[in-house]
């Protein structure tokens, strides 16, 4: 083992960028922004992962997938760490990740629209800023409406396009 050079962090990040999110397989773990750190602790590789939602059932699968992908590349000394702070935000989803989501039929998050508990001000903010309207990932129309704040997974809301009439998921901002 000592004779073989350790793979570089860039190389490892590249491998991780090929690991799909188990719930939304078009997007990778690095696109999602949940890989917070990759570092060598002597001979052990340490990958720090942050959960998306605290109850997201994909979290344990993600850890298994990371482990499997890295072991396949010959990394046998591996430690996964969980980091809660700073908490994950959809702002960390990469531009490529947003394109992939849109092409897959999920409207990507509009940054800065996370719920913050200020209901009235927020409702006004969302109503006033017409540019904040969620665009339909199929026809691009901004004539869309929220059906429910919660969708098929904790990270998504249900929307409907009033132009092409298709229902779609919106990856909500958090």
């Amino acid at each position: 083992m000592t004779a073989i050079a350790k793979p570089s962090i860039t190389e490892i990040r590249q491998w991780l960028s090929e690991v799909p999110d188990p719930e939304i397989p078009v997007i990778s773990l690095t696109d999602l922004g949940i890989i917070r750190d990759v570092t060598w602790d002597d001979e052990t590789l340490v990958v720090t992962v942050t959960p998306t939602y605290s109850g997201c059932p994909a979290t344990s699968i993600i850890n298994l997938d990371i482990e499997a992908a890295l072991r396949q590349r010959g990394i046998d000394r591996l430690r996964l760490e969980r980091s809660l702070s700073p908490p994950w935000t959809t702002d960390w989803i990469s531009p490529e990740g947003r394109d992939k989501l849109r092409n897959y039929g999920i409207a990507p998050p509009i940054d800065g629209t996370a719920a913050d508990g200020r209901m009235r001000e927020r409702a006004r903010q969302l109503a006033d800023g017409s540019n904040l309207a969620v665009a339909c990932p199929r026809c691009g129309s901004h004539l869309t409406e929220k059906v429910s704040q919660f969708g098929s997974t904790p990270c998504k809301a249900s929307y409907r396009c009033r132009e092409c009439l298709e229902p779609f998921d919106y990856f909500k901002c958090i």
């Binding site: 719920a115 913050d116 508990g117 927020r122």
Partner: protein, 258 residues
């Protein structure tokens, strides 16, 4: 790993972490009872997602509680292997689901408190507490937005939905006072700067709920009687039934995994 601060009363910290974790655990379980039974599909999904967030937060709070206790108990051990008298949740969260209106009103009254509590906890002197709170707060902001919106829509809805929402509010009102009772453990936490004095949350909570209830055309009850005991382990008969359901598997088949 554990940063043991000897100046902080660890028993009080454990007690208060149980209160946070038991609230989310019991309410998460209650809300999940709706799965497959909601009035409409979207609400079924919303309730299940809310329950999932709450259970996820439970893992964090009870995980930390076990770490603070230092006896090797995991979040699962604490959830599945304690009896009712060892649970520290508010009586409000163990109230039966009732109709959809009662479930929603309970959620709204709790969310409004939860939001203020977590906001205060993000400033905790204990970094571990502050981190969990910051994570949970993002999720709870969505819970509060949803429950406020629905309370307004149903309160200011049809005569029937209004009647049911008012009845739910009247029924649950006497269970809200327990959220603001301060005991010795709370005092110890407040003095250490780890958690807020529960009494300090009443003002912001009441301002918010009055705002929403007014928009929902619902009358704020005037009763001052407070049902309490849950935070000390004195529960209503409902908790035992929840635990019988929730803990059955681990009690019957200890250590079962899949």
């Amino acid at each position: 790993m554990a940063t043991l601060d000897l100046a902080v009363d660890q028993a009080a910290l454990f007690e208060c972490l149980l209160r946070l974790g038991d609230n989310t655990l019991v309410l998460g379980h209650r809300v999940s009872e709706w799965c497959g039974h909601s009035p409409v599909l979207e609400e079924d999904i919303a309730l299940a997602n809310t329950a999932l967030d709450l259970i996820g937060q439970t893992q964090l709070w009870l995980g930390l509680a076990g770490e603070v206790e230092g006896k090797g108990r995991t979040a699962d051990n604490l959830a599945y292997l304690r009896d009712a008298a060892a649970f520290r949740n508010l009586l409000l969260v163990e109230r039966p689901n009732g109709d959809f209106g009662q479930t929603l009103m309970r959620q709204f009254l709790f969310d409004a408190w939860h939001f203020e509590m977590l906001t205060a906890l993000t400033r905790s002197a204990d970094k571990r507490v502050a981190e969990i709170a910051a994570k949970a707060l993002k999720e709870v902001a969505y819970h509060l937005e949803r429950s406020s919106d629905l309370v307004i829509r149903l309160g200011d809805g049809t005569a029937e939905s209004h009647r049911r929402m008012q009845r739910a509010l009247d029924d649950l009102w006497s269970y809200t006072g327990e959220m603001f009772v301060t005991d010795d453990a709370d005092k110890a936490m407040a003095e250490a700067g780890i958690m807020p004095d529960p009494a300090s949350l009443r003002g912001p909570w009441e301002a918010r709920i009055r705002d929403v209830l007014a928009e929902a055309t619902l009358a704020v009850p005037t009763g001052t009687y407070v049902h309490k005991g849950g935070r000390k382990g004195v529960h209503t008969e409902h908790l035992g039934f929840i635990l019988a359901d929730m803990q059955f598997l681990q009690r019957a088949y200890p250590g079962a995994t899949w």
